[in-house]
């Protein structure tokens, strides 16, 4: 999701691709950890919600890094480096947009399901 998406996100359908929803879920998962979190844990946390392959998240994390929604820092753990991912200010703005969009979207979907004659 680019700047453009942030600007006119409210008019456009944000979750028209699966990629946006996955971005949102990853951002949400990372945002919970103030000190940041690392690839394996992010994957396991996301897998707690949606079924994704273990290899899926690398490109997603890279994309979020490139869009400056995430930042990384390395920390020595058990004599080796662990790369931590942390949400940025821009990432929070983006996540906020995703959350409100998801609210609208899921609200509408829920309503149509409630009104459905089964």
């Amino acid at each position: 999701m680019t700047d453009e998406g942030i600007k006119n996100g409210s008019e456009d359908m944000v979750f028209n691709t699966g990629a946006a929803l996955l971005d949102a879920v990853v951002l949400a998962v990372v945002s919970k950890e103030m000190e940041g979190t690392y690839g394996y844990r992010i994957t396991q946390d996301v897998r707690g919600v949606i079924d994704i392959s273990e290899s899926t998240l690398y490109p997603v994390l890279r994309r979020l890094l490139k869009d400056e929604c995430l930042e990384v820092y390395d920390q020595a753990i058990d004599g080796r480096n662990r790369r931590y991912y942390k949400i940025t200010e821009k990432g929070r703005v983006q996540l906020k947009l995703y959350c409100s969009e998801w609210g609208n979207y899921s609200c509408k979907i829920s309503r149509i399901f409630e009104e459905a004659m089964i």
């Binding site: 691709t17 990629a19 929803l21 844990r41 994704i52 273990e54 690398y58 080796r80 662990r82 790369r83």
Partner: protein
């Protein structure tokens, strides 16, 4: 497959991507398996699929066509393109585009599923190559064997003719002037001359052949002379048929082609804007 094996394979498969991206990807997957720990390592590697698949995902991401691919289904998020075993591969960055003809010949490669270790992965160009090959084959098939044979036989006869006509055309072109109109006029003149001269010469030769054969038969009393005449006549008759097939080509193929290409050319000039849209 052990972790070391997997990483070695992955590293090997990513040789062609920029160093920084490669180091990044390798570090991520190494860390990932490290974090998974010995107890989860095996299942993680199994779920990665194969080093080839992981390399394909990394490469697709680098070339920027991963954004639109994934899809949520009722059993989670997946990208059709990377489902085993038929995930498509992004072409390696360091390899030049395969020559179209060669790629087209290998259907396995052309489908883009080539999973050969470090081999050249077929890309979209492969499919184009196939189409091109088909096109070529279609054109080639138009030439029947007897036409080719006739052409080969005709070369010694035609060479002087072609040279003469070509020389004439050149001379004419220079004579009329070096301007474009001059050349065009000359070409038109040559075309017109050919249009008249070709059938005329053909029928002349045919006629001469028939006459010589008849003449030869009447002279059969002097056997050698008669046979000589008949032989020459038959030869001329054959030459006449060659001329006929040339006429057929000229009128049936060349002139229509010339007219349609000229029409296309001018209409493209006029409707240039519409074409570029």
């Amino acid at each position: 497959m052990s972790r070391d094996e997997f990483m070695r394979e992955l590293e090997y498969l990513l040789q062609d991507i920029p160093d920084e991206d490669k180091a990044d990807a390798i570090a991520y997957y190494r860390d990932y398996l490290e974090e998974a720990g010995p107890e989860n390592e095996e299942s993680a590697i199994r779920e990665f699929g194969s080093p080839e698949r992981v390399a394909a995902i990394i490469r697709a991401d680098l070339s920027g066509n991963l954004e639109q691919g994934g899809e949520f289904t009722d059993h989670g998020y997946e990208d059709e393109r990377f489902k085993e075993p038929n995930y498509q591969l992004t072409p390696r960055l360091d390899l030049p585009e395969e020559p179209a003809g060669e790629a087209g010949g290998d259907s396995q490669k052309a489908k883009g599923y080539g999973r050969g270790r470090g081999g050249s992965y077929g890309s979209r160009s492969g499919r184009y190559g196939e189409a091109e090959e088909k096109e070529k084959g279609r054109v080639r098939r138009r030439w029947e064997w007897w036409q080719i044979l006739l052409l080969c036989l005709a070369v010694p006869f035609l060479l002087p003719l072609v040279l003469g006509v070509g020389g004439g055309a050149l001379g004419l072109a220079f004579g009329v002037g070096s301007g474009a109109i001059g050349i065009l006029t000359a070409l038109l003149t040559v075309l017109l001359c050919l249009a008249i001269a070709l059938p005329a010469a053909t029928f002349g030769i045919l006629l001469a052949g028939v006459i010589l054969i008849i003449f030869g038969i009447t002279r059969l009393t002097v056997l050698v002379q008669g046979i000589l005449y008949i032989g020459t006549g038959v030869g001329l008759f054959g030459l006449g048929f060659l001329g006929l097939s040339l006429c057929g080509l000229y009128y049936g193929r060349f002139l229509p082609w010339l007219v349609t290409s000229a029409v296309n050319f001018f209409s493209r000039l006029i409707h240039r804007r519409r074409v570029t849209e």
